[in-house]
Symmetry: C2
Subunit: 389 residues, 2 copies
């Protein structure tokens, strides 16, 4: 297995993009990444695309070929592969692309992620998101995705004394970060009081505890590290890649206040990177709900189990602290077009590691981590990225 670098990044703004179709978003992000890498189209060996449910959102499967086609890559008949793992579709597509280059099979691979969610109504959108959970044991009994996370939150409060205000602190921090990101869906700071008084979604989670429904796409170009210098002076190296699964249904686990798949995926990625969690300076973690970020920073090893809420409320994960979490605004404020999210995390980290993150730059960023989750933790994908000095 050889070293792999990210040599190009691109993304659309995230939000309600009613003037762009799925394929247009994909092309915009993909071309931006290819342009950023100063590539010509003929140099691309393969395409991987992360997408959760275009079949249900826009009546279109066969997403790999679709994006290859409309990016002009079908002319060269390149291999195009779509990966699905619910919310982890993007991160998992990234991992497949990484593997394709690391193995020596391909030199240059484009990995994209996209989801077009706002062409359907909110009820159908909620139904589609619930297809990430267990149809037989959860959703057929009426459990929605927010409801499942509300149970996790309630249990975390019971076991560890996590407070409603600590949950809210996640949203306040991520909106603050989002206000510094011109590509974010929400670029306004919010107050804790706004989170606490918002309309309830699934108690204890309110409107501001939930990531929004979003449209968007993101893309990266991967290249064998030995060839990366031809394209860029600032390659970012993939130091480690880890993936893990767990039961689909929450009720089949020993505990619902930890995601073991996150812990195992992180251990695998950090071991490959020869780093510990405490070496990480910034992380994009999967905050589809406020409680999710608290679980994530515990399960990834940044804080002891049960200490995530307090750490967040104490400002230990905000931009400027030793560990900056979700500088992009996270899923909460940057937006969560499902299949795009895992790739957008990598785009943010590459911006940071290049020192090109503008107002939200983490000073001296050298080692970063991306954490992408499918369902209620049945799939987790973790990547560790680093500057090449």
């Amino acid at each position: 297995m050889r070293d792999v670098a990210i040599i190009g990044i691109g993304d659309t703004k995230f939000g309600e993009l009613w003037d762009m179709s799925f394929r247009e978003m994909g092309i915009q992000a993909g071309l931006a990444a290819v342009y950023d890498a100063k590539l010509s189209g003929e140099e691309i060996d393969a395409l991987y695309v992360g997408n959760m449910s275009a079949g249900k959102f826009i009546e279109q499967e066969h997403i790999g070929a679709l994006i290859a086609d409309y990016s002009g890559l079908a002319r060269d008949h390149i291999p195009a592969t779509r990966i699905e793992a619910a919310g982890a579709s993007g991160g998992l597509a990234f991992r497949q692309g990484y593997l394709a280059v690391a193995s020596g099979m391909h030199d240059i691979v484009v990995v994209g992620g996209a989801e077009k969610m706002t062409d359907v109504g909110d009820v159908l959108s909620t139904e589609i998101q619930a297809t990430a959970a267990d149809q037989q044991w959860e959703t057929s009994f009426g459990a929605t995705f927010p409801a499942l996370h509300a149970m996790i939150a309630r249990r975390h409060m019971f076991e560890y004394g996590t407070t409603r205000e600590q949950l809210g602190a996640v949203a306040v921090k991520n909106h603050k970060h989002g206000s510094l990101n011109p590509k974010a869906q929400f670029q306004k700071e919010i107050k804790l009081d706004t989170v606490l008084k918002a309309a309830p979604v699934a108690d204890p989670l309110g409107m501001f505890d939930c990531a929004p429904v979003s449209d968007g796409a993101a893309a990266v170009v991967l290249c064998a590290l030995e060839k990366a210098k031809k394209y860029t002076d600032t390659p970012v190296k993939v130091l480690g890649s880890g993936q893990a699964s767990d039961t689909l249904a929450l009720g089949h686990r020993e505990s619902i206040t930890r995601f073991d798949a996150t812990t195992v995926a992180a251990q695998r990625a950090l071991k490959q990177a020869k780093l510990s969690a405490l070496d990480i300076q910034l992380a994009e973690v999967h905050d589809n709900f406020t409680i999710s970020e608290i679980l994530a920073i515990e399960d990834l090893g940044f804080f002891p189990k049960g200490a995530g809420g307090k750490a967040t409320a104490d400002g230990q994960t905000v931009l400027g602290s030793k560990l900056a979490v979700n500088t992009s605004g996270g899923l909460k404020a940057r937006g969560d077009p499902i299949g795009a999210t895992g790739i957008a995390q990598v785009v943010e980290l590459v911006n940071q590691l290049r020192g090109e993150a503008g107002k939200r730059q983490v000073a001296g960023a050298e080692r970063a981590l991306a954490h992408n989750v499918g369902g209620t933790g049945a799939t987790a994908v973790v990547h560790v990225l680093g500057r090449v000095n």
Copy 2:
């Protein structure tokens, strides 16, 4: 890249399996493959699953984690990845599993494919199959999947003089083969007259020119060849793997009477295998419609362009001839549970190469080819398999 062998195979019967759920089919096929390989569950490093549209067929995405979970593999938190490429989902999942072992990342990988199609009505099923085509340029104007293939057939008849009877000969041959396969959906021979007089679906294609709607699952176990002898005396080696894409919409191509993706994928796989098409003794090709098999045997290089219909009618692809095509019965008679199909092709070829294909055994089978197509040729995946002597 190291050599990879298939050391285990398993499948369900294909058909209208109203007594089995999606997950039950997946488990049955997966366990059969693991049992065939004499593996214990802890030896499995990763899982890949091919599936086209469980989101629309059974309201369930996140298929990789689902199958890992219900196979008992989530206990070890193994990576589980779902691949989608419409009709080529199974073949493409096989390719990703192959790559994962060839790269050295994993030693033992299970690759499964499954689709549960008969839980929805025929109209919705037709709508779902059409999501393989271009939603914007084809299906939104009313083109169904049979209609697109009818246009291909009509044009092939116009350009090359292919006859209605030659199309029918594909169905007659594949039903003959299916009659020898106890796992096939249709195990009855049919007469040419039955095909010609069947109810029309999309002229010139009638009921017997179309593969059925099916439920089913299939699975294989891949292993590094150097370690395969530990598990089996009859490993089957993956000699070559090729994948290619093309435009999603037929109307965006130079010609609709050839699938360039098939030709390119075959060239890539045969080049890796250091073989020519004429070295192949048996092939499972993607006959979702009778015209598709005629295109396939031409585009794969078995017969000159335009000669596929006559070759079939002359008996040059039937069991016992120099090249046996679709000894399993093909999609037409064995059935076509979409995501399972590409894996079922491999299962059939492994049965043949082991000399365990019973009444449909190809004498002296040593070199075989599997050809799996997504949409109307926008994705093609070709694998070349061989006996290890």
